[in-house]
């Protein structure tokens, strides 16, 4: 049996891509295999670890729990789309670098996308709120302490930059 292919148009990081995929293609796999955007990582493939988290219309969602065919009406932002326009690190990325918020880095793309949206919604998180912001993401290396520090540092960097955090594909 040859599987039916669907023409799918995906808008990712401001670029429109056209791909042909079977309906069962997970969005995470479409991003990685069909578009070559391997920044999005895949850990558990059932929604638990958060490594595959991307922004869908600016809101964090699990790309392993969506099908590419159902992502057509949305603006998607992956970790590749978080850097500033001049290619320099975004405040959240910069804070991870400064605070040593990663070791192997496998979980990092999911944390970066989640925190980018989290700080947009709450630019001045308390320590508790910073912990809560990352509660849905697993990291097997860092012990989280430096990730929480990175959230707090990123809040300061966003504030210093005076500009609001990148709107990350949020619709007007």
């Amino acid at each position: 049996m040859t599987e039916e292919l669907h023409d799918v148009r995906l808008s990712v990081n401001g670029t429109m891509y056209e791909i042909q995929v079977p309906a069962r293609r997970l969005l995470s796999d479409a991003l990685r295999h069909d578009l070559g955007l391997t920044g999005t990582h895949v850990g558990c493939e059932h929604g638990v670890c958060g490594a595959c988290t991307i922004l869908v219309d600016g809101e964090p969602m699990r790309s392993c729990l969506m099908f590419a065919v159902s992502a057509v009406d949305h603006e998607l932002t992956t970790v590749e789309g978080l850097t500033n326009e001049d290619g320099s690190l975004s405040p959240v990325q910069q804070a991870f670098s400064e605070c040593h918020g990663l070791q192997c880095g496998f979980c990092t793309p999911g944390f970066l996308t989640t925190i980018t949206a989290g700080l947009r919604d709450n630019p001045t998180p308390t320590h508790e709120e910073a912990r809560d912001m990352i509660a849905g993401n697993l990291c097997r290396c860092t012990g989280y302490q430096n990730i929480v520090k990175a959230v707090e540092r990123a809040a300061v960097l966003v504030d210093l930059a005076e500009a609001p955090a990148p709107e990350a594909g949020r619709r007007p």
């Binding site: 049996m1 599987e3 039916e4 669907h6 079977p22 309906a23 069962r24 997970l26 796999d29 493939e45 059932h46 929604g47 958060g50 988290t53 869908v56 809101e59 964090p60 969602m61 699990r62 392993c64 729990l65 969506m66 099908f67 065919v69 159902s70 009406d73 989640t114 509660a135 849905g136």
Partner: protein, 280 residues
């Protein structure tokens, strides 16, 4: 960890969606996918056809019905939107109290409250809430529309009384009566995990009722009216048979029922007291 092949439809109207589900093919509705996609990826389910309802306009509404009416939540209203809605909080505060315990924020951004109800997981928060409040679900099928009350919705583990060719359009949560109080408590391994045991309470005058999750195969409501404070936990246990699984022993669950019952009823009474004082 990849789903088996399936045929995919993305209808633009309810009528088209109902038509797509008609016929003998083994089919599933795709809403938020936060329960269905893991089942497909683990190949615990392998339907021949998936009908994606996400492109149907008008299903993402959250509306208060009439003067003393409750709140109606559309099939595409995401948990996050329901949780953030000031109308829902005002009309039936138990809904956001419980929703805050449903998974993590990222899952709530995509998962739907109606999907969680018809998925009918006895470990899930919202089925227990709908059962306690006596809410209902409106569905559309080949024979037209019908309303299924919470009593008739949950029939077994992960089994609701929707026919395979029916689509849930909305859920109705009755309003909190003036002077009544509600509360929600659960114990989970980690915040955001499914609860080992959870309890929602509704106190209205002398009436005390508690809805339990993760205790039986279906959400279970127990009437504890007239039971003295100290006997609440044991009175509840007399009507429940907590089970064993890999997450907790029956004995531990029984202990959680005792503790949470006392706690949730106390909180609901306090909430009732505050709401009476607030109105004065």
């Amino acid at each position: 960890m990849k789903p088996a092949p399936f045929e995919y439809r993305r209808p633009g109207t309810i009528a088209e969606a109902v038509a797509a589900l008609a016929g003998g093919t083994e089919s599933k509705v795709l809403a938020g996918g936060q329960s269905l996609v893991p089942l497909l990826s683990m190949r615990l389910a392998a339907p021949a056809l998936l009908v994606d309802i996400n492109a149907i306009p008008g299903l993402d509404t959250i509306e208060v019905e009439g003067e003393d009416g409750g709140v109606r939540v559309g099939a595409l209203a995401r948990h996050a939107a329901v949780l953030a809605s000031p109308d829902v909080r005002r009309v039936q505060p138990l809904v956001p109290m419980a929703l805050a315990n449903v998974a993590h924020a990222t899952i709530r951004n995509r998962g739907t409250t109606v999907g969680s109800l018809v998925h009918a997981d006895a470990a899930a928060e919202m089925p227990a809430v709908l059962a306690l409040l006596g809410g209902s679900v409106e569905v559309a099928g080949p024979a037209g529309r019908r309303t299924i009350s919470a009593d008739e919705l949950f029939v077994g583990p992960l089994e609701s009384s929707l026919a395979h060719d029916e689509i849930a359009l909305s859920a109705y949560f009755p309003a909190l009566a003036p002077g009544a109080g509600v509360a929600f408590e659960e114990i989970a391994r980690r915040h955001g995990d499914y609860a080992l045991v959870g309890a929602a309470a509704l106190v209205d005058g002398d009436s005390v009722r508690v809805g339990y999750l993760s205790v039986a195969d279906v959400p279970t409501v127990v009437d504890l009216s007239g039971v003295p404070e100290a006997g609440l936990g044991d009175a509840a246990l007399a009507r429940l048979e907590p089970g064993d699984d890999i997450h907790a022993t029956a004995e531990y669950r029984a202990q959680l029922v005792r503790v949470l019952t006392a706690r949730v009823v106390r909180s609901a009474r306090e909430h009732a007291r505050q709401s009476r004082e607030g109105r004065r």
